[in-house]
Amino acid sequence: MSYGKSYGRRRYLKPSVFWSIRQGFPSWLSPVLTTLSLLVPVIIWCFLSYGGFVNPKFLPTPTATLATGIDMLRTEALFADIAASFLMVLAGFIAAAVVGIPVGLAMGTFYSMDGLLGGFFRTVRYAPINAFVPLIIIWAGLGESPKIIIIFLGIVFYNATMISDAVKFIPDETLNVAYTLGATRRDLLFRVILPATLPNIIDALKLNVAGAWNFLIISELIAAQKGLGFKIIYSQRFLQTDKVLFCILVILAIGLATDLFFKLIFRLCLPWAESKTS
């Protein structure tokens, strides 16, 4: 009997290293690829600036940028700006975690809370916080509080909805077996749902730190006397692209450090789990 071309023959999955899908990946290859992906933009930058393809007023060379940066750290007290921005992000981030985690757990756990809070949180998530920035500054003044409020509002709704979704992914049987072992609803919340979603909570917080930096810079661009965002907008006015670039590099470095910090926490506190986000 003869079938069409592809039906008659046996077909096997061809082995592949580069395109492997959950079939193992050489442990040396992944850092190599990561380094490559980070090096490529730097190489392009070097090529364009050292090669003289662009006006150094628009794109200064890496060495010039670093030299300016060191100068800023020495003469312009850039550390104070970094510290100011970092503290704002920390404050907004903690506030968003303190509100977002319990609200997310409650929304995921109780149908009633999902109805009460879920509708609001899921809808407001779509609101463009950036558009509210001038309004918040009008309401809260020019001090530190509007920045913290903007960061808080920017990420709290994501925290809550991501955590509530994680709770809903806990299998029914996991909760049911706890009931048959005598768990009360309180036990269920604190001894089953909370530990079961802890990896997702840490992952959500990690993802939302990036958002926190975005919202900080936006708020500092509009109204601030210090901070990295203020430095960026101030330098931009005088066409000091080297300063702008250095500030961006500083934010990237802080982001990288935060990421490593969360990865470390995850590995130390949750030896039983695997992180699904990067």
Partner: protein, 264 residues
């Protein structure tokens, strides 16, 4: 109830009042206009200290019935009684072993087994000796510190059984607990369960698709049919003490033939 004729005498156990009673339970799953009758007016009495099994084709409503007995699923109508009193929801009196693996992945094997004991506020030292005892029984003493992700499927199920037993339930409900095990481990656990049941005061209600297993372990085998009705209850009048050799005796095979016919 049909009593299957046998040459052997009744087991000499005290058959007191029903420990757990399932009274006229009906469960209908509605999806739009369609209604799916999963369990149709089933009444079962679990006599105190008895081991009963429920067999039936896949999808006939066995798991649904067991979940209702455990208080995890609300019946459309009917009630569940423990010691003659209607129970409103789940509790530690009815322990359960599920069809799928249900270990808590964030707890070590020992902590999994101790979960219910910890909820009761049992002192740590007592917890530890209990955990040790039950892990030894299921042959997993060496894995006490491991996390569930490091165990095989069968090992996970044995931990789940240890966890349910350590909590001292009055009624143990089990949904195909040996389904995922290899035949040697399965027979080992069958013998172990038989011994455990003989020594303890526990009342067991177990779902299985293995007719031999049902006969070997039970005093009563309930047969369900595709429509979610209880078709027949077969009393197994084999001696109270059983060993695996018994599976080859003519009496045993008579029961097996009878139940297999009832399932058709």
């Amino acid at each position: 109830m049909t009593t299957f004729p046998t040459t052997l005498g009744q087991p000499n156990r005290v058959t007191s009042a029903a420990k757990l009673e399932i009274r006229h339970i009906t469960k209908i799953f509605r999806k739009g206009k369609q209604a799916n009758v999963a369990v149709d007016d089933v009444s079962v009495q679990l006599v105190s200290n008895e081991f009963s099994c429920i067999v039936g084709p896949s999808g006939c409503g066995k798991s649904t019935l067991l979940n209702i007995a455990a208080g995890l699923v609300k019946a459309t109508s009917g009630e569940v009684l423990v010691d003659g009193e209607v129970v409103p929801g789940p509790g530690a009196d009815r322990g359960m072993v599920f069809q799928n693996y249900t270990l808590f992945p964030w707890l070590s094997v020992a902590k999994n087994v101790a979960f219910g004991l910890d909820l009761k506020g049992m002192p740590q030292s007592e917890q530890r000796s209990k955990v040790e005892y039950y892990l030894n029984i299921v042959g997993l003493s060496d894995c006490a510190k491991a996390y569930p992700k490091e165990l095989s499927g069968g090992m996970k199920q044995r931990v789940a059984i240890a966890r349910a037993l350590a909590n001292d339930p009055e009624v143990l409900l089990m949904d195909e607990p040996f389904g995922a095990l290899d035949s040697q481990t399965k027979e080992q656990l069958q013998e172990f369960f038989h011994e455990l049941w003989r020594k303890s005061q526990i009342t067991v209600f177990m779902i299985t698709h293995d007719v031999e297993e049902a006969i070997f372990l039970s005093q009563r085998v309930h047969v369900m049919d595709k429509s979610g009705k209880l078709r027949e209850t077969v009393e197994i009048s084999l001696p109270a003490h059983r060993d695996l050799e018994m599976k080859l005796t003519p009496e045993f095979l008579d029961y097996k033939r009878h139940i297999i016919h009832a399932l058709r």
